[in-house]
């Protein structure tokens, strides 16, 4: 979601692993380890100061990004997945993080803890995101 190409994805993954390793000493057990890991990963992805590449629409994923070499058993599902990725790609960086956490079944409280906003505001943001996704995806999800 935060990278355009395979190479960038590999770099980001490596950096997340490095940051988790380096920051592990600072983990005090005040939150769940998974919440802490999501924090570090999201901070690395959003504010990790990657080199900017001049592209017409910098934050947009290229078509190649959707070509993950996986074929889901159901071709219809595969198509819907592509549309879902493209729809999420139209959201802001913060919204992408919030919706990803929600799609992975994190509670509003956990999302609030990772992002740093109130659970109520997570709800407000998610409502807006759902409206937008619905608008974008409605024609493809009959």
């Amino acid at each position: 979601m935060y990278c355009n190409q395979d190479e960038e994805r590999r770099d980001l993954f490596q950096d997340i692993v490095l940051q988790l390793w380096r920051a592990y000493e600072s983990f005090k057990g005040e939150s769940k380890i998974s919440t802490w890991m999501y924090r570090v990963a999201l901070n690395t992805a959003i504010s990790g100061f990657r080199k900017q590449k001049r592209k017409p629409e910098q934050s947009r994923l290229s078509d190649r990004a959707y070509e993950v070499p996986i074929v889901l058993p159901d071709p219809d599902m595969e198509e819907k997945r592509t549309f879902l990725y493209k729809a999420i790609d139209q959201l802001s960086e913060v919204e992408k993080g919030i919706v990803m956490l929600h799609l992975e079944d994190h509670s509003y409280e956990e999302i609030a803890e990772i992002i740093g906003i109130t659970p109520n505001y997570v709800g407000v943001k998610l409502n807006r995101i759902k409206q937008r996704l619905k608008k974008i995806l409605q024609p493809h999800f009959v």
């Binding site: 770099d11 993954f13 490596q14 950096d15 692993v17 490095l18 940051q19 390793w21 380096r22 920051a23 600072s26 983990f27 802490w36 924090r39 570090v40 999201l42 901070n43 690395t44 959003i46 504010s47 990790g48 100061f49 990657r50 080199k51 900017q52 910098q58 934050s59 993950v68 070499p69 996986i70 889901l72 599902m77 819907k80 997945r81 879902l84 802001s92 960086e93 913060v94 919204e95 993080g97 799609l103 992975e104 079944d105 803890e113 990772i114 992002i115 740093g116 906003i117 109130t118 505001y121 407000v124 759902k130 996704l133 619905k134 995806l137 409605q138 999800f141």
Partner: protein, 210 residues
Amino acid sequence: MEFDELKTIWQSHTATLVEIGHRSAADIGHMLRQRSRTALSKINRSIGIEIGILLAFALLSVWQLVRQESSLDLLAIIMLCFVGASMIFYSWKYRRLNRISIETSNLKEALSRTTMTMAGYMKLYSYAGMILVPAMGAAGVLYGVHVAAQDNGKTLSELPMSAWGIIVLVMSIYAGLSILFTKWYVRKLYGVHYDELKACLEELQESTMP
């Protein structure tokens, strides 16, 4: 379209991704031994190279002074002053930059701290560039004029006012251009990223606005 359907699609996909993206302990160990490829790490490495070059200039200047070949002593002293000032600037720059570490706090706090550190770093970079580069240019021009005057059997104080007018004009143009260049360069290096982080932070701050 129900959101639960999206969750199912997402989770089935990420489950497969996790499966194919599985890394062994050896792979992870290999990753940890590699250098970070973030632009921040690359800038740190280039600062190291720049400091190395400055130290080489400093050694060259000291060697020149030790040789006691007076014609180049003034240049060596100017160079040492420049290296000294630059080293102070580089150590500030390095400390500022390395405050931008990956945060383990929540995203909003991390963004707030990172944007604040970046703003300070950009300001420091701009001011240092705006002072050091024109100062070094002025010293270079004065040294050149001094050598040229000496070749003609004159001293700087014997130069006519018109010559000083030209010297001041050249220095002013150089200073103006270097200030413009520094502003443009800092903006090019960090501006886009800073604006993006600021936009993310503002989006998160909406929640605390009345």
